[in-house]
């Protein structure tokens, strides 16, 4: 089985400081990988580098494209990479405001990716937008409301709908549940888990919340100071942590 995403020797530095270094992993179709670590451990840097939002200093990020098979996305031309970003890839920001157009209605937000890939039939775009709003539990009568009128949880669900409408194969998520209260978090996680299974999505989820990865991720990578200190199956890493930092991380979680 060929991996969907193959990351080799990725390194990103900010001057003398290490953002992340020596990162290697393969992600297989339908697999969800979590990246955990404390603030400043380089997990967001790594995600931004993989998604092409930041230039990296060294390394290769191969993606199994639909047409040409494995391609190094770092060496791709910009039009190709941007095309990938709005078709096969999706990026869910921690703050929904970064990923949404706040002055455009919910339907327009969901429809934007469809129109970006050439859909020019208003009725179809609107039907798909309403269908997706329904799938993320937003009522149909909110389709013409602006995201600024939505609650934080709704904004986050709208952002997810907007990203998944073109049927991407790989989703990058940066703290998708950050800043939401626990009951809303739980619903969002439930929704995400359903969508990931149903669409057979592959995903890379960056979070500091171990409960999130426990629920969603098949595999786990633990980062500290820009280095990957431990990786393996989620349950294995969380239940039997080997590295001192992972042990600290796991023992820091309050048992409710």
């Amino acid at each position: 089985m060929t991996p969907l995403l193959s990351v080799r020797d990725v390194r990103k530095t900010y001057g003398n400081r290490i953002g992340c270094t020596n990162v290697n992993f393969d992600l297989y179709p339908g697999e969800v990988m979590g990246i955990v670590g404390e603030s400043g451990s380089g997990k967001s840097t790594l995600l931004n580098c993989l998604a092409g939002h930041q230039a990296l200093d060294q390394g290769e990020v191969h993606f199994d494209t639909r047409v040409d098979g494995m391609r190094d996305t770092i060496k791709m031309s910009e039009p190709e990479r941007r095309m990938l970003l709005r078709t096969d890839w999706a990026f869910v920001h921690q703050n929904a405001r970064d990923g949404l157009r706040m002055s455009v209605s919910a339907g327009g937000n969901v429809g934007e990716r469809l129109m970006a890939v050439g859909d020019r039939h208003y009725g179809n775009i609107r039907d798909k937008a309403i269908d997706w709003l329904d799938r993320v539990e937003i009522a149909e009568d909110r389709v013409d409301d602006r995201p600024s009128d939505f609650s934080g949880g709704m904004q986050q669900r709208l952002q997810i709908a907007r990203n998944l409408v073109t049927g991407p194969r790989l989703v990058f998520m940066d703290e998708p549940t950050g800043g939401l209260d626990v009951s809303v978090q739980a619903r969002l996680l439930d929704l995400l888990r359903g969508l990931v299974r149903e669409m057979e999505l592959s995903a890379i989820i960056v979070t500091h919340d171990l409960a999130v990865v426990r629920l969603l991720a098949d595999r786990l990578m633990v980062m500290k100071s820009g280095h990957v200190v431990e990786s393996g199956l989620t349950d294995q890493v969380l239940d039997d942590p080997q590295h001192p930092y992972t042990q600290l991380l796991v023992s820091s979680v309050l048992q409710a």
Binding site: R86, R101, V104, G107, G111, E112, M115
Partner: protein, 287 residues
Amino acid sequence: MSDYNFAYLDEQTKRMIRRAILKGVAIPGYQVPFASREMPMPYGWGTGGVQVTAACLTPDDTLKVIDQGADDTTNAVSIRKFFENTADVAVTGQTSEASIIQTRHRIPEHPLTEDQILVYQVPIPEPLRFLEPRETETRKMHALEEYGLMHVKLYEDIARHGHIATAYAYPVKVEDRYVMDPSPIPKFDNPKLESPAIQLFGAGREQRIYAVPPFTKVVSLDFEDHPFEPARAEHECDLCGADHTYLDEVIIDDNGGRMFVCSDTDYCETRQSAGHRGKFSPKENAA
């Protein structure tokens, strides 16, 4: 003759502007940056159009200046005076007699010919601006032909109003490549953008020049199920009776009385002198 250099601008500046114009004509719809000069009029009064006109003008030209279709409003009068003073060129109100026409917000009703240049005054040349505020990003979107966002604006129109409510500055795609803002002309004029005349667009404050060469394909953007429709008021001109022109609505009393008149004053007057009459025309020899 005054003490100004011909057409106000110095020769080096005109040369720089002509280069931008040539580049614009070579790449239809592409916004060419140019070093816009400060002109003796405020931004928003046609500083871009004036510079383009100045760079195109020759002593043999006949100039016409239109402001919202009219030849006798402030903007038109002051720009026409400006070139009379600084270039000593002949001026006219008649579309058919002009070799260069500078316009604000209208395309003349009278069909243009291959011998004419139409210069538009443009306030905001970037059609994507209100959706994407970053210039770096909009330039990239033009370069990579990523125009999905333009349809988001039209989508919003339909979602909110039930139809495409954009009535002026209606975005067009030029020669299947660049999406262009045709300046704030009514969408009624959009079909006339495919013209035998050279069309030049000057934005002074934003420092951009772009062009539509003669006989270039210009398509107004739309959806398959909401096609583009050039809109006009469902009336006849009350002065010349025309039912195919773009009309201005004029309030005439405090009791809701109104009249509709051609926005193109030259066209309306030509029709009237040819004997066409509307509802409010003076009665002939009524005595």
